[in-house]
Subunit: 383 residues, 2 copies
Amino acid sequence: MAEIADVVVAGGGVIGTAIAWRAALAGLDVVLVDPEAGDAATQVAAGMLAPASEALFGEGALLRLNLLAVRRFGSFAAELESAAGQHVGLRREGTLAVAYDPDDYAALARLTAFRRSAGLDAEELDSRACRALEPFLAPDVHGGALFGGDWSVDNRRYAAALGEAARSAKVRTVRDRAVAVRTGDGRARGIRLADGGDIDAPNVVVAAGCWSGAIDGLPEPLRTVVRPVKGQLLRLRHPAGVPPVLSHTIRAIVRGTDIYLVPRADGELVVGATQEERGPDQTVTAGAVHDLLHEAMSVLPVTSELILAETCVGLRPGTPDNGPVVGRCGPDGLLLATGHYRNGILMSPVTADAVVALLAGQAPAPEWEPFTPQRFITPDGPR
Amino acid sequence: MAEIADVVVAGGGVIGTAIAWRAALAGLDVVLVDPEAGDAATQVAAGMLAPASEALFGEGALLRLNLLAVRRFGSFAAELESAAGQHVGLRREGTLAVAYDPDDYAALARLTAFRRSAGLDAEELDSRACRALEPFLAPDVHGGALFGGDWSVDNRRYAAALGEAARSAKVRTVRDRAVAVRTGDGRARGIRLADGGDIDAPNVVVAAGCWSGAIDGLPEPLRTVVRPVKGQLLRLRHPAGVPPVLSHTIRAIVRGTDIYLVPRADGELVVGATQEERGPDQTVTAGAVHDLLHEAMSVLPVTSELILAETCVGLRPGTPDNGPVVGRCGPDGLLLATGHYRNGILMSPVTADAVVALLAGQAPAPEWEPFTPQRFITPDGPR
């Protein structure tokens, strides 16, 4: 006996769950399909809400989308906390970017100029000023810059709140894997589950992160657009009685390598992350853990005294141009919302807004125009 | 209603379980008391059976006891495997000791001379000969020595086999914590459990590792003799399709720090270990994991490609003279078997032999004479 809904969303990470919640709030009957309670990339994210430091030079369209996303995040998070009745761990202390050696500082100066060109705050600081803000930084840190407008969110609290908000909005969750988009008479009809069951729905949203291409029924060029980009990160904790060693998110360039340290209100410190092209491999490797710890200890020596509570691996959904893939494609009623790469948490509110607009027959915000699926189907298309 | 037995053993690590098994084989009715299935230090050990490399200069009596222990291990393990119907992962490839730099090599040369003075094999090897034995060693390893007589055992398989052998010999296990030795009329009468229950037995063996001193009823000077010495170690695994990168146990001196890498038949590689005086703290720290990985990668760079499967912490039962504490003490019927520090696995067979001899009114092997509890009660006593 098939479940029947207005919308079926394949993928229960932050993207899929945010879409499901907002679609339900818009009055639609929604089923969310995911084999596990929470997707890997969502659970592993650091939760930085930093529009410019994640956008590379030449990625102006992505930066504009990130800026939209960061402007939207605060109101979305407030509404979410109210709907879910729980906090998401939003922190507004800003990011302190630091450079370990003079070459690192040159790279940081270019990033700072890029941020300013995007109209974002960036205050250059010498080594002493960095240590005045964060006294546990190593004295040999060369210098830094304060990005006061950057926030962070506790990814796991945020994902849990989205799940709770979706439940309270009557989204039904099916614990199974979507294997195919079902079609008939030229339009989407629902989802086929791994156990053989069906969900019937006139609207199908594929939001399965790096696994989206494994779902049958997507237009052929889109099956290979999203690839897994492995990220390993560490969760540290303070020993009993030790006060928090950081108040700002630290982004550090250490001998040419980027790392970040993101403090949480509950005393956790997230250290990340590798970016590895290793297919769907999800093993924690000795070398990655060593390198993350080594670089963290270079800029924040007290890291060595913290508890290594967890080593984790996630697979980011990467795309050829590092931009997300959000919009209609293939048969009528099929929507794609994936490819968010390193920005899934940040972009989840605006992605939900865009998909809910499309479901209502409206146009999403213009910042989304360069990020439709069509750019991979029609190579000479927009962008 | 109290359980009644001939012998009650407090502590279910390898020492207590080996004693329980052998006492049951000797015809005694035995109850083993332990709150968990397997003691922490036992589960965390690397399982090296290396009599000389663990004995320091000036510890001649300890070396003689270790030599007795290593001679006994093979026949004990064979009998254990037969009784338990399972393998313990004994490996006889020997230990390859390597030195990272010239200063490390000078330290290794002293260890090699010490081993020879104890009548043990030690074959000096240059860097090229080391790499002929272990091709994945870093080319900058300065030199080494092959200790062909050293074995290793898989500590977890060994502990599991002891548990199985004890069960098959009708040892009864009580899952609770021993809080006191009960006495009456000047002799031991049994054990008081944390839940308030009692075990009645005329013979009480305290084999609770670093927790032994927490059991009421021991002679006062012995309550503080055993202290926890924290050890952190790592368990690595080979990725699918990668053949074992080591065949020998490697002991490395890396810029003055000792580490070991112990390969297992199932593809595990154990890397250890810190020695930390931090009381009963059992947290995994970022600095320890970093340092172990850093030193392992210095001598065996391919370590970086292995999977970090587990980080673990154990508390070794250390004593002021690094020697175990085995023998009668206090009221009649009370025996102590603890303080095995870094040699618990190696010494478990001879410790069981010694305790079973004492239970039968016989003298243990003469190598045990310097290691009675009396040496801490009567400071001018033996040794």
